[in-house]
Assembly symmetry: C2
Homo-oligomer: 304 residues x 2
């Protein structure tokens, strides 16, 4: 299996601070490069991290609050200035077309060098919105005060093809091999051969779930089920749960409860209110419910 | 005289680099706080520098290329989030209304807490566009590939009122004093007393001129005349003067020639193309024409 590289480009929320940029999560897998959210300053964070922003394939925007989306304009203009030709895919909730339109027509800019493929996502239940055979992206509507999506990156494990066994079962080498590999049953001289008979064990695949601005919700649990890492909104400590409720956010304790229910391996809490000078208290609180919690800093990386 | 504090918040150009943010120049004088340009990331640069961004009074935008203006949206939204009530003045070239309108209606944002006073500036010759008695701001149209303004901050020196001399000339204490102080001639028992007779010597006042993206032009010279500091576009070294011409920019040598013609005291070159790892060669080139040249880094301060 290939490695999945995750870079926390911006771990703050609402407003940038000295130490935390605005939300942006970078995932690279098998030569595919994607961003989840793109707060103001993301292009600079990518440059500081030395990431190949020219090679971005797709951007997933959770919602249109400024801190999650205002970096798109600068990034797109820079890609155009540097003569990108390749199409860029952008996914986001209802209204993505209008938002992108405003963003890319501000000032004197005219996007000329490449196409944007804009995809409006509606997903009341976790829904696969992209797949290329190597990995898939699923999305679901969360519970914020405006339409807001969570996303899961999921590796698609290829099961090993057991060639000797296939030959033993009488399958001739050739197109029938491919069909079995792709999960189809095939007819061999009147006998049905099933993929499970000629494919190795299903392998554990890697999954990273991003659940930004939201109240704790069952949709987040479903989306995150079994993830290696759940990156979750944790704007407040639980003594400010009223503020979390008012703002459509989660407390550290609530984030940990979601992680526990979803059976994830690790919880990364982000988007702390700027009132917290560091995330120690938030991590401590979350750990009482879900021990394997951490608070990533900007530019921290995870390799799975 | 009060001090004028200038902070170079972003000294890069076109695209942010690891070391240089996008253009923004902060000037503070007598409790007035203003920004010249507001590239993406400016609100964060202000926070890192510890500047009181809530207390900004006015913002002067040179032009609407992304690198000079895309930080406005995030800054305005943050001011609103932090419950600013005071009006914010914004000045910029033709089209400022439309540009601001797009910027502040992107996503779900509705500006509710304070008013924006938007001022469209047309100035073929250096024109005073703001004055409050303590200082004035002048603007002039430069020579870029889109409408682009340069700005001068100029302290207004108050001349000392020579009270004893006024009494000797028969001016009675009271309202006539104020009128003389404000530059009016007054009639004292049929005799005309002129302000120059009762005011001290005119004092040297401080002047800072900001000439961003432009070909070297006479308008820039007029705007900068006698400035303490001229902050000037210097995107390329002179061996790339063709690139400078094509992009509507200046070379280091050209910036130095403008500084020399305008008789300024110091030249600060900024907006280097990202091809230059540092500004040494650009400074060296400019110094052959204008010795008192420097290349500020982000967060450098000048106190005048």
């Amino acid at each position: 299996m290939s490695r999945v590289r995750t870079v926390f480009l911006g771990t703050g929320g609402s407003v940038p601070t000295k130490n935390r940029g605005l939300p942006a999560l970078y995932i690279e897998y098998e030569g595919n490069r994607m961003l989840f959210d793109c707060g103001e300053g993301t292009q600079r964070q990518m440059r500081i991290a030395g990431l190949p922003f020219m090679k971005l394939d797709r951007i997933f925007i959770s919602h249109f609050h400024a801190d999650h989306v205002l970096g798109l304009g600068g990034l797109i203009q820079t890609l155009d200035l540097f003569q990108r030709k390749k199409k860029l895919e952008i996914y986001g909730p209802k209204g993505i077309e209008d938002t992108i339109d405003k963003i890319i027509t501000t000032g004197h800019f005219v996007l000329e060098g490449f196409d944007l493929e804009i995809n409006e996502v509606r997903a009341k239940k976790p829904t696969r919105i992209y797949s290329n055979g190597d990995y898939s992206i699923s999305a679901v509507q969360l519970d914020h005060n405006v339409p807001c999506l969570g996303f899961s990156f999921q590796e698609i494990a290829k099961r090993k093809f057991l060639k000797k066994k296939a030959l033993r079962l009488g399958v001739p080498e050739g197109p029938l091999f491919s069909r079995l590999q792709n999960g189809e049953e095939v007819d061999v001289n009147g006998k049905l051969v099933k993929p499970d008979e000629v494919l190795g064990k299903p392998r554990q695949t890697k999954k990273i779930t991003y659940v930004p601005d939201t109240r704790p919700c069952i949709a987040g649990v479903h989306l995150a089920e079994g993830a290696d890492v759940l990156v979750h909104d944790s704007t407040f400590a639980h003594d400010l749960q009223e503020s979390a409720r008012e703002g459509g956010h989660s407390t550290a304790k609530e984030a940990a409860e979601i992680a526990k229910k979803a059976g994830v391996k690790k919880l990364a809490i982000m988007h702390p209110s700027q009132r917290y000078k560091d995330s120690k208290a938030l991590v401590k609180e979350a750990k009482t419910v879900f021990p394997d919690t951490f608070a990533p800093n900007d530019f921290d990386e995870l390799i799975l």
